[in-house]
Amino acid sequence: MIETKNLSLTLGDKLILKEMCFHLKRGEFVGILGPNGSGKTSLLRVLSGIYPNYSGSATLYLIPTKNLKPKGLAQMIAVVPQEEHFPFSYSALEVVLMGRTPYVGFAGFDSAEDCEIARLAMQQTDCWSFATRPVDTLSGGEKQRLLIARALAQKTPFILLDEPSTHLDLAHQQSTFTLLKRLAYEQNMGVACITHEINLAHQYCDRIYLIKEGHLLGGDTPKSVLTVEKIKSVFGISSQMVTTCDGKAYHVFL
């Protein structure tokens, strides 16, 4: 499991993360919510080894993540960034095959197994239909699904996603959250997802963390974390809970 204890991070002279205690087990789907600039992405960057100069501890099965080589870490934790800039027109399939980088041999060619894994990952995220298209012709939503496919091709036990649903239409938002839940339940992966979709997080996630100005709060079930009072204190907006006739609770923002 991934675990941080009293994790603090300073960038420049600004304290970004303050004494965070976070954990993610295999088989669970965790949502991370918070306003812009609260430190969500920084937390993901520490967990994926990009910011090594933190204090406190960040461990993967009790091994400090800074002690792991990039290759080893990339075989354990896959990260879906908010967006990525492609300077050359790689095809969609080529981008997903880059997810196999931590595994390729010395020569570095794509094996039949790599291609099969890439194909399955692209089918899971509804990308296979545009596999041969150059990545610079894809829409924002298609690119986001492609980045998820690439992370799946890494075949890791943990996957961390940074706002994977911002550019997605409603149907793909739902199918993405359904996929993430299935990854946790059927493939026993540990899934953590930064999102602004409070209602989707409430319905799909097992646990919810809230981040406010570098402080990590919550970590419990959606029902106990996403209360009207906490949403008001973290996001500064008023909301109400509405229950539909099938018994599901929704947040309505006023």
């Binding site: 075989q75 896959a78 300077p87 095809s91 794509d110 041969t132």
Partner: protein
Amino acid sequence: MMRKTTTLTTKRFGFIMGILFAASLVTLVLVTFFGRPALSMNEILFSESSWAREIFYYVRLPRVLLGFLVGAALSVTGVNFQSLLRNPLADPYILGVSGGAALGGVVGLALGLSFQLMLGVSFIFALLSLVGIYWIAQVGGRLSSSSLLLTGLMFNAFAFALVLLINALVEIGQSQQIIYLLMGSLEATSWNTVLWLFAIVFLGVIVTTLLSKNLNVMSLGEEAALRLGVNDQKLRKIFFVVSSLMVGASVAVAGLIGFVGLFVPHVLRLIFGPDHRLLIPASALGGGIFLVVCDFIARSVVTSGEVYLQLPVGVITALTGGPFFIFLLRKQRASIL
């Protein structure tokens, strides 16, 4: 352009490289025997001690081989820079790395250093230019495309000014050599220079090819590379040193030849796609073919009366590469700058 297959299997790689190898051999044979002055195969192979044989062994063959090596070095370096700096317009000439290397070469000439020492000085100047440009162009931790090109422009102007300054101070014989260095030319080469260049370019191309799989993810940025398990900082240093070695050696031997590193990789990307595992070795062969053909044109096309004029090869590459650069800039301005 839609490519049919986009996965790089051993079979596809072998097939394409096989074709390029064959094309390289055919081109080398053609430009060796059909350039001006014309050399007949009969004279070279079967007649004893003819002038044709002398020209073949001591002028034509080293010149053609040198052209192939320099073309390979500049193209592979172009691909390296484009990927590492995440900028399709990067090229050793445009970024001022060649200019830095030329300054090193001129310093070596002015000091009367031996050929090997001059190679060394050129390499160090190329590396310093590259690191300097990379460092200056990083605004607030990220590499900005426009500041990269502007820094290269400045570096070129600066290096050029220093070269002209040195040129004014040295005696006339050295001045002649400096002018040749600035024009870019594959003339006046010995077997010794060819062998040295072969050793450096061969090493550079092999190292780059073996590490080429990493260039794909490194072209997405340092963070993306790290997320996909590639130690960007460590590899970046290796690529910088190897690229500087190849540019330094090429410039010290053949002077400033522009746009090869821009033209060849882009044409190959259009044909084979941007996968660096194929693009790097293909650029080595494609760049070699391109430069020997340019040199063939340079020595065989322009006549003055009955005499064929020997143009510097840099003239031909700039005449083709210059308009091509503008075309690329125009096509990609929206997304790049």
